[in-house]
Structure formats: structure tokens, C-alpha cells
């Protein structure tokens, strides 16, 4: 008699197989194993459905659920490459990188890395699409990562003469080749919020959003942060971005200032800017204890 472990492995392997173009279960796995034989070995038929058809219900629900979740998390990428190419990409990515988390929130955690290894899925739009993926993943992280107590003026004396300033865990710093922040705001304004997860069966996601006009090449530096539980994209000067990156990486204030390329900025102007930036970052609670 087949034991529990073997049943679960066989069934899981079957439901993880990508669907046919008509959203049915394939006849064979990619390795050539017959899925009809797998279904008949483990699942009973009934008076209305064959073993294969019963297994197919789970195969379809698996893909509908994870494609829907990934699609919801990356509307900006969809707008750049179009729905059809997105779906092809999503199926390939989710087959190679299935969920390894109890929450669907982390489904896209390996997407940037996977796309770098599979650039063919982004042909013609690779740089802007990768920028968008980085921004959308940063947005997910900024939305619900921890917030530590803010650093206040009263905390400063304890930091010593050359302090290290820790950034809030939810802040992400991005160096982007395209201004995808504006594009994502436009895309997001057309969407509604939904729950991350429930236990109901999911309908097939058939989005019909139009591809957006893409912005021109323009390097931007972003701080993706959170205020009053809303995620914001703050554009930064290049020098401010470098300073924040150095502080994030654990450098002291003087080391961070030294790490910035200030060429082209008179020293007085640079000092005034640093003061202005720190005033903003402190007021916005970007530094934590």
C-alpha cells in the first residue's frame, strides 16, 4: 500500500506541472511521466469524473492561486511587458522558484534574481522591467517590515562624537536607470486592494490592463519608505543616496560623508544640503534606535 509520504510527493509533483494553453492538466510531466497514470494510481474516479479530471481540479487551483498572487504583486511589470508575456514569465518563474514560505507575500522574493538569469523573458525591456521588479519588491517589503523606535534628539549624546545612524528596517534604497516610480504610481492608481490570502478557491486571473507608455531613460535615486502606514517613493539627490547607503551599511557619519563623491558641489553648499537632508530624514523617522 502506498504510504502518506509517497502519495503527497506524487500528487504535489503533478499539481505543480504547468497547465496547457487551454488551462487543463498536461498528459505528461516535463520528465515524461504520465500524469494519467499518476492520477489513476492514487485517486479514485467517481460517476462523473475520472481520476485525471479530479487531480486536474487541484492542478488548476494551484496555478490560478499563485498566478493571481504574483500578478497582484507586480502590476508595474505587467504594464511594461504586457499580460501575455507576463503570464509566460510568471509560469516559468513559479515553476523554477515555487513558494517556500507560508505566506504568498514572499512569492516574488526571488523574481529579480531569476530574471537576471533568464533575460529572454524581458527582451527589449530588460532594464526598465528589472527596475520595476526591484521597486515593486521594495514596496512589498516597505509595506510590512518592522518599524523600530525613532531616534530622537535625546538619543544623540549616547551615540558619541562620530555616530552611526541606523535606518528603519522597512526603508529600501534604489538606484534606478528609469523613473519607474511615476509609472508605478499611475498603474497603482487604477487598482483596488485585496486580501493577501484566504482559504477559498481562487478564480482564474484574467487581467486586461493596457500596456503603458514607457518613460525615457533617466537615472533616479529612491528611498522607498513608510509614513502613517502608507508606502512612499522619495526621490533623492545622488549624494544623499550615497550617504544613506553608507549609513545603512554601518559606516559612521564621518566615514559616510567621506564615502560620498562631492565633486562639483562647493563645500558650503554640501554642508547646507547635508543639514537639510538630515532634518528631513529625522522628521520622517528614517533613523531608529
Amino acid at each position: 500500500m502506498m504510504n502518506l509520504d509517497r502519495i503527497q510527493r506524487q500528487m504535489f509533483e503533478a499539481i505543480r506541472q504547468p497547465l496547457t494553453p487551454k488551462e487543463g492538466m498536461r498528459q505528461r510531466t516535463r520528465e515524461g511521466k504520465s500524469l494519467r497514470a499518476v492520477a489513476e494510481e492514487i485517486i479514485k474516479p467517481n460517476d462523473r469524473l475520472t481520476s485525471f479530471e479530479r487531480l486536474e481540479i487541484y492542478n488548476r487551483q494551484y496555478w490560478f492561486r499563485i498566478l493571481s498572487a504574483l500578478s497582484e504583486d507586480f502590476p508595474g511589470l505587467r504594464a511594461i511587458i504586457g499580460e501575455r508575456r507576463f503570464e509566460k514569465l510568471a509560469v516559468a518563474y513559479l515553476f523554477d522558484c515555487p513558494s517556500q514560505s507560508f505566506t504568498l507575500r514572499n512569492l516574488g522574493s526571488r523574481l529579480e534574481q531569476w530574471l537576471c538569469a533568464h533575460p529572454g523573458y524581458l527582451a527589449g525591456t530588460a532594464q526598465i522591467a528589472l527596475d520595476m521588479v526591484r521597486l515593486e519588491w521594495a514596496e512589498i517589503q516597505a509595506f510590512d517590515e518592522a518599524a523600530k523606535p525613532r531616534l530622537t534628539e535625546a538619543d544623540l549624546p549616547a551615540l558619541g562624537p562620530d555616530p552611526k545612524f541606523a535606518l528603519q528596517p522597512y526603508i529600501r534604497l534604489l538606484d534606478l536607470a528609469y523613473p519607474v516610480d511615476d509609472l508605478l504610481i499611475r498603474v497603482r492608481s487604477e487598482l483596488e486592494e485585496t486580501d493577501i490570502v484566504s482559504n477559498a478557491v481562487t478564480e482564474r486571473p484574467h487581467s486586461h490592463s493596457r500596456r503603458k507608455r514607457l518613460p525615457k531613460l533617466e537615472r533616479v535615486f529612491l528611498g522607498v519608505h513608510r509614513a502613517d502606514n502608507t508606502v512612499y517613493f522619495k526621490r533623492l539627490d545622488k549624494e544623499a543616496f550615497s550617504l544613506l547607503c553608507a549609513l545603512r551599511d554601518g559606516k559612521t557619519l564621518s566615514e559616510a560623508v567621506d564615502a560620498v563623491d562631492w565633486s562639483g558641489r562647493p563645500i558650503e553648499e554640501a554642508m547646507a544640503d547635508v543639514q537639510k537632508w538630515f532634518a528631513y530624514w529625522s522628521a520622517a523617522g528614517w533613523f531608529c534606535r
Partner: protein, 280 residues
């Protein structure tokens, strides 16, 4: 009987699921609701708006946690990170009991995010019961398991679903979240009498009841939680109340979610359903 050790000796009445489209209505209008059920995984995070909203809800309402990915029936061990985060949430919500499903859904740390059906064998019952006991001991709160809707049956099964449910909860000494819609859906998909199921489960272990809507297809029924509850499911609910007594009841509505008032009104049919049966 309904206030029992499996639901922390509570009498919670009729609740609804806490869902994003209703956040603003609930926080602004503060409607009278017996309790809210939350999907635990949506709040097992470190910060941000979901926890902020939850804290506001907790100030005014009773909340019970319902999980979707503990996978007691998976062969692999419980995920320790999952348990730690769940325990932190239990401390936050002070949930009097915690539920998840009698199903499996992961293999070697890869998640299906689906509620996959169990083969009804003694091996499966023992392994599942052991994981439920482990979870309860770690979480230090009563754990109850919910029967799922299913679309497949296994050749190896050597008992009925209700016998398997009984076998698991007695071995684990845990409670049951009895989903009468899931009983109905599975009874249609597998040709059994849903009242036989209801009559056979250990009634003294039922901590909570779920009702929901579903979608009917040509050859099977899917548990979609996107419609009102149909009359045959209300009949099962009324019978469950006769057998068990008034029990904490929750309406699930997870897709194509209507207004808060519409969902709440649908949930409150549970009270009328019981009253009519008593008056009849």
C-alpha cells in the same frame, strides 16, 4: 456544551471574517459584531498597516485566529518560523482558540497554498494528530481543526472522512471547527449523506462552526466563498445546532465581497435559522 475546553469556554455568537474592503467601514462606523475571524497569515508580519488596523480592531472587538498554512497533514515537520510568528500573534490577539485545516499542502518546504485532501488512513491520522499536539503545546492555546472541501478521494483510504476526522481529533485530543458548507460540498462531490457526517462526528468536541457559499459546476462543486449560503447548507447548520447546541459561528465570504452590511446580514441569518428551528 458549546462553551467547552476547545474554545476556551467562550460563548461568542455570530461573527464574520475581517477583510480589507471592510476596514474603513468597521473603523469609522464601529458596527455591532459579536466577533471577527482573521486569517492568521495576513498578520504574521513585523509591522505596517495590517497590524495597525488589527490593533484598532482589538481595542473594540473579540478576534479569533484562523490559519490556512499550518498543514497538519503534511508529512514534513511543522515550520518553526511559522510557529514562532503565530505565537507572537496569539499573544497579540489573545485568541481563545486557534483553528487551521485538516489537510496537507507542502512537501520539502515547498508550499502549494492550497488545502489538499488527506488519504483517510490510520498512518495519516496518527502523523496528523502528533503535529496538532506539537502545535498546541508550543502555542499554549486550544487548537481546533476544520474539515475541508475536497474534490478527490484516494484508493488507500480505509475509512470515511468523518471517521478520519474523529480518529484525528481523539488521538490529538483537540476540538473541531465544523464547516457545514464543506460537508455539503464534499457530500455532493463524493456522493455521501451530509447528515450522516453530522450525526457521526464527536459533537462534544465542536468549538466553532463555519458557513459559506460555493459555486456549482456541471460535474462538481467548488468551495469559492463568493456567494450567499444556500438553503441546504442552512439546513445542515440548523441540524448541527440541534446536535451540538448554539456554537460560535462564522460566515466566510472571501471573493466578490459585497458591502459590510450585506455580509453581516447574511451571517445573522444563522440566528434566525436556529430560532425558526426551535420555534417549529
Amino acid at each position: 456544551m458549546p462553551a467547552n475546553r476547545f474554545n476556551g469556554f467562550t460563548q461568542y455568537g455570530v461573527g464574520i471574517g475581517l477583510r480589507i474592503p471592510h476596514y474603513n467601514h468597521i473603523l469609522e462606523k464601529k458596527p455591532v459584531v459579536d466577533w471577527f475571524e482573521i486569517i492568521s497569515e495576513n498578520f504574521m508580519i513585523d509591522g505596517g498597516r495590517p497590524l495597525h488596523v488589527l490593533d484598532q480592531i482589538l481595542e473594540q472587538y473579540r478576534v479569533v485566529q484562523h490559519g490556512v498554512s499550518m498543514y497538519f497533514g503534511s508529512v514534513e515537520p511543522l515550520n518553526r518560523e511559522h510557529l514562532k510568528r503565530l505565537k507572537a500573534l496569539v499573544r497579540r490577539t489573545k485568541t481563545p482558540w486557534l483553528s487551521d485545516h485538516l489537510c496537507w499542502g507542502s512537501v520539502d518546504g515547498t508550499y502549494s497554498h492550497d488545502l489538499l485532501p488527506m488519504p483517510y488512513t490510520f498512518e495519516a491520522a496518527e502523523k496528523t494528530a502528533q503535529k496538532i499536539r506539537e502545535a498546541r503545546d508550543f502555542l499554549e492555546v486550544p487548537v481546533v481543526v476544520e474539515n475541508v472541501s475536497s474534490y478527490a478521494e484516494f484508493h488507500v483510504s480505509d475509512m470515511t472522512e468523518w471517521q478520519f476526522l474523529t480518529e484525528v481529533v481523539e488521538r490529538a485530543d483537540c476540538g473541531i471547527l465544523l464547516d457545514v458548507n464543506n460537508i455539503y460540498v464534499s457530500s455532493r462531490n463524493h456522493n455521501f449523506d451530509p447528515f450522516e457526517y453530522l450525526n457521526s462526528v464527536p459533537h462534544e468536541r465542536v468549538a466553532q462552526i463555519h458557513v459559506a457559499g460555493h459555486s456549482k459546476y456541471e460535474k462538481y462543486i467548488l468551495d469559492t466563498h463568493d456567494h450567499p449560503v444556500i438553503d441546504p447548507v442552512w439546513e445542515l447548520y440548523a441540524r448541527a445546532n440541534e446536535l451540538i447546541g448554539p456554537t460560535a459561528t462564522l460566515l466566510e465570504w472571501d471573493d466578490r465581497i459585497p458591502s459590510f452590511d450585506e455580509v453581516h446580514e447574511e451571517a445573522l441569518k444563522a440566528n434566525r435559522c436556529v430560532a425558526e428551528r426551535v420555534g417549529a
